[in-house]
Amino acid sequence: MYKQITITGFGGQGVVLAGRIVGQAAAIGDSLESTLVQSYGPESRGGACSAQVTIADGPIYFPYIQNPDILVCMSQSGYDKQYPSLKKEGVLIVEQDLVKPTDGRDHFAIPCTRFAEELGNKMMANIIMVGFLAAITEAVSLDAARATVAESVPKGTVEKNLKAFDRGWEFAQATLKGRRHKAAGQIGVVA
C-alpha cells in the first residue's frame, strides 16, 4: 500500500493541520508509516500553501509527491496549480463553494466552509474536510482519524471539532450512498 495525498489551499485554512491529522492518524492510529511535508510562503495568512502526505505499509524514502493519488483542493488557485499533477485514476476532492473544476472530470465536493460556519466557526472547515476525505478515500480509519482530531485541536474545542469531523464523514456517506443508487439506476429514489 502506498498512498500519496496532496492537500492545497491558502494559509489560514488549516491545510497543514489537516495533513498532519491524516498523517498522524495513519502512523499512530493505523500503525502505518507516513510522512508530511509542507510548502508555504512567508505570509501566515492568504498565501498559497500545500501539505503532502504519504501513507505506506513500508518505509517511505522520497517524501515529496509528484503525482498524487488523492488531491484535496480548498482553493481555486490550489486547484489550478495542482490539478494537472493528479494521477489519471486519482481521486479529486474540492471545497464546493470555493473551487470550480474546469473540466468534466468526476470528483467529490463538499461545502465544508459553509458547514463550518453553520457549526459556529469557519476555522473548522479543515476538520470537516478531514472527515469527508477519510470516508471517501478510506486512507485512514474512522477511529484513528477521530482520535487524532481530538488530540490535535485546542482544549475546550474537542467536542465541536469532533462534531465537525462527523459532519464531513456523514456528508461523505450520503454522497457515496447517492452514487451507489445512481450506479444502480435508481436516480431520484430516496433510500
Partner: protein
C-alpha cells in the same frame, strides 16, 4: 513529530539539560520544544541576545558540568564560528545542530540545503577535528542526537548534527524507547589527588578527563595555546603538543566514530554516496535502478566528518564510478573525488539549494555513467 522535535527529544533523552539559543528558521522549533520541556526535567533554557552569545553560553554550561546544546541555521552558524573554535581548542563537549537552509547570507530561510558541510568542517580558523552527523529521518535524528552527545562526552569535542529544513520540518513517526534502553554516556571525571590534577593530560583513548568548575580541581580554560595544566604557553612545542592531542583523539578513533550504512555494495558497479535528506532521494533512486537490473549500490554517510575516506578508497579499487548526491554544488563530492584518487570516476548530482533532489535526476546521472 517533526525532525526538529525529534532532535529536542533525543537531546533530552541523552541527558542534555542546557539549551542556549537564538531563534532562526528552520531551527526555531528545536528551541521552542526545549523551552517547553527543559524546565520540567530540571534543565535550563536561555534565549541569548544573538548566536555568538548563544554558543558562549553553551560552552559555559558545559564547563559547569552540564550536557549542553544549541540549534541554528546558516546565518547563526556563521556567527557561532568563533566560539566553536574555542570549543575545539578548550576541548569542550557540546552539541550544535545546524538545520541547513539555502545560503549564502540570508538566502532562502524556509527552504532546505546541504551547503554548510564544508563550513562545519573548516568554519573556524586554525587546524582542528570535529565530528558531524547527518541523519536522514525524524527517527534517526532522535537516535543520532543521543549519539552526538555520547561522542561529544567521550571525545570532549563539539559534535554537529547537520540536518536541513526538509527533515527538520517534515513529520514522521518516531518511536521513543523506554529510558532504560537508552545509553547516555557521561564525560570521564578526573580521579586522584586534586593538587596534581592536569586539565589536559590524556587518558587511555587520548582524551583528558574533565571536571566541572567548582568540583575542586584547578580549572583554567583559555583559547590561547596551553599546556596540559591549561595555562597559556606561547611556544611552538606547546602548540605541537596541543594540536597533536586535539587531532589524534579523533584520528586514532575513526573506527569508533565513523558510522556508514551499506546497501547493495557487494556487486555494485556504481556507488551512490549521500547523507541527510539526500540519502532518501538516493535510496529511492537505488531501488528503481536495481529494479531495472542496474548494478547500483549506496553508501550512506551517517558520520560525514571525519570523512569515511578508508571506505571510499577501498570501494574505488573495484567500482566504476561514484555518484555523490547532495543539495549543494559539490562539497562532499570533492572529498569523494579526493579519496577515490583517480581510481574511479566521480560524478555530482547537486543542486543550488531550496529543494530536494528528485530520484529521476540521480537515475539520469547513473544512466549516463552506465
Amino acid at each position: 513529530m517533526t525532525g526538529d522535535e525529534a532532535c529536542a527529544e533525543g537531546a533530552l533523552a541523552a541527558g542534555c539539560r542546557f539549551f542556549g539559543g537564538y531563534p532562526i528558521t528552520p531551527a526555531t522549533e528545536i528551541a521552542e520544544h526545549m523551552s517547553e520541556r527543559l524546565p520540567g526535567v530540571g534543565g535550563t533554557f536561555i534565549q541569548m541576545e544573538d548566536e555568538i552569545a548563544a554558543m558562549a553560553s553553551v560552552l559555559g554550561a558545559a564547563w559547569a558540568g552540564q550536557k549542553s546544546m544549541t540549534a541554528t541555521s546558516g546565518p547563526g552558524f556563521s556567527l557561532m564560528m568563533e566560539n566553536i573554535g574555542l570549543a575545539a581548542c578548550t576541548e569542550t563537549p557540546c552539541v550544535v545542530v545546524n538545520v541547513q537552509r539555502a545560503g549564502p547570507s540570508t538566502g532562502l530561510p524556509t527552504m532546505g540545503a546541504q551547503a554548510d558541510m564544508m563550513q562545519v568542517r573548516w568554519g573556524s580558523h586554525g587546524d582542528y577535528e570535529i565530528i558531524a552527523l547527518a541523519p536522514c529521518s525524524a527517527q534517526e535524528i532522535f537516535y543520532q542526537t543521543i549519539t552526538a552527545f555520547n561522542l561529544s562526552e567521550r571525545y570532549r569535542t563539539p559534535v554537529f548534527i547537520m540536518t536541513d529544513e526538509i527533515i527538520g520540518h517534515m513529520s514522521e513517526k518516531v518511536v521513543i524507547p523506554p529510558a532504560d534502553q537508552i545509553r547516555a554516556e557521561d564525560r570521564p571525571k578526573p580521579q586522584g589527588r586534586k593538587d596534581r590534577f592536569l586539565l589536559y593530560k590524556p587518558g587511555p583513548n587520548g582524551v583528558a578527563p574533565m571536571p566541572a568548575a567548582g568540583d575542586g580541581y584547578n580549572v583554567h580554560v583559555t583559547g590561547l595555546t596551553h599546556d596540559e595544566k591549561g595555562y597559556p604557553v606561547m611556544s611552538i612545542e606547546a602548540q605541537e603538543q596541543m594540536m597533536t592531542r586535539i587531532k589524534n583523539k579523533i584520528l586514532n578513533n575513526l573506527d569508533d566514530i565513523i558510522i556508514t550504512e551499506d546497501h547493495h555494495l557487494e556487486d555494485a558497479e556504481i556507488v551512490i554516496v549521500s547523507y541527510g535528506i539526500s540519502a532518501r532521494t538516493s535510496m529511492a533512486a537505488m531501488q528503481q535502478a536495481r529494479a531495472m537490473g542496474w548494478k547500483v549500490g549506496f553508501l550512506r554517510l551517517v558520520t560525514v566528518w571525519p570523512f569515511a575516506e578508508r571506505q571510499i578508497r577501498a570501494l574505488a579499487e573495484r567500482v566504476k564510478a561514484f555518484v555523490t548526491v547532495e543539495i549543494n554544488l559539490g562539497q562532499i563530492h570533492l572529498e569523494v573525488t579526493r579519496a577515490a584518487a583517480g581510481k574511479a570516476a566521480c560524478h555530482l548530482v547537486g543542486h543550488h539549494g531550496g529543494a530536494i533532489i528528485s530520484p529521476d535526476k540521480v537515475l539520469a546521472a547513473i544512466e549516463e555513467v552506465l
